[in-house]
């Protein structure tokens, strides 16, 4: 019996809480707890999305790689191939450079080094891979 005049002691509280200390776990609780743990462990074992791998058939993977390579080449090719002056795709020559220079210099005399300076600027726009046939500019000037 609790004495109302005396404060509750630890022993009294422990004695009165004995029923709560004696509470037993329900029979199914252990299985439920283990299932929760296994579920949590399996979730933690799953990698994040950028770490996951997917299964792709080999022919499909090869086809995708080939397609990607072709697309990449097709996209990069125009950047490396500037438009050429000859419709037949022939290698640019000194004559082409002279022709361009003449076309852009409509008003004045064809100066001795004008064609060469025009050709030089034209050369500057070409990709290194393309050869440039340099012919004797003097012979050409004489022929003109």
């Amino acid at each position: 019996m609790i004495d109302p005049q005396e404060p509750l002691s630890d022993e009294q509280i422990e004695e009165m809480l004995a029923p709560l200390r004696a509470v037993k776990l329900p029979d199914h609780a252990h299985a439920v707890n283990m299932a929760a743990v296994r579920r949590a462990l399996s979730l933690r074992a799953r990698p994040v999305w950028w770490q996951r791998t997917v299964a792709v058939p080999v022919p499909l993977a090869i086809a995708a790689i080939v397609l990607l390579a072709c697309t990449t080449v097709a996209l990069l090719r125009p950047l490396g191939n500037p438009p050429r002056p000859g419709a037949d795709g022939a290698r640019p020559t000194q004559a082409d450079g002279i022709a361009i220079g003449r076309a852009t210099n409509a008003g004045g005399e064809l100066a001795a080094d004008a064609s060469w300076s025009m050709s030089r600027s034209y050369i500057g726009s070409l990709v290194n891979a393309h050869a440039f046939e340099i012919t004797d500019s003097k012979e050409k000037r004489d022929a003109l």
Partner: protein
């Protein structure tokens, strides 16, 4: 496997055997803590399972050694209990519900008066504020030392002792009120 540093290392490596031992070691104390807080056995079972799910996620991040394990487990339990109380309407558990505690607790029928007093005290503890209630349950039901209670609740030891002292006075008042004594 003993509850030592190797056990903690196994838990951090997420080994199944270690977690099975963890469940066996803590499922009953956790269930008692949750059941003591609200008296609902089904909810207490669900909260115990939730607590172990949270422990799987958070144990790898636990700092400290084996002596930190029990406070860490009850700290997770406390957070789950707080979440539950935020969802529920806070209120005093009427003494009528205290009968549920007696029904689940084994006790000799010949000590009906003692059982009635227990029921009243348990109901009174449930009417305390959550922080003080946690201190009483961890101290007198799960029998944790004061230092571990302070660690689990994230409070200084002095605060825990002060809550025990004030809680004891509050319980005295409640029990006197219920018994009709001045």
């Amino acid at each position: 496997m003993a509850l030592d540093e190797e056990f903690i290392a196994s838990l951090k490596r997420r080994e199944d055997d270690a977690y099975e031992l963890l469940v066996r070691r803590f499922e009953t104390p956790l269930y008692k803590y949750f059941f003591g807080s609200h008296g609902d056995p089904q909810l207490a079972g669900e909260q115990t399972a939730d607590c172990f799910s949270e422990l799987v996620k958070s144990l790898p991040k636990m700092a400290g050694g084996a002596n930190q394990l029990r406070p860490f487990v009850f700290a997770v339990a406390k957070n789950i209990m707080r979440r539950q109380w935020r969802l529920q309407t806070r209120g005093f558990t009427p003494l009528d519900c205290a009968d549920d505690v007696v029904d689940h607790c084994p006790g000799p029928e010949s000590v009906a008066e003692a059982a009635e007093e227990s029921a009243r005290l348990i109901a009174a503890i449930r009417s305390l504020d959550p922080a003080t209630r946690d201190v009483f349950l961890l101290r007198f039901v799960d029998e944790l030392p004061i230092a571990e209670i302070a660690e689990a609740l994230g409070e200084p030891i002095g605060t825990v002792k002060s809550r025990l002292h004030r809680g004891r006075q509050r319980l005295q008042e409640i029990l006197q009120t219920k018994s009709g004594l001045p």
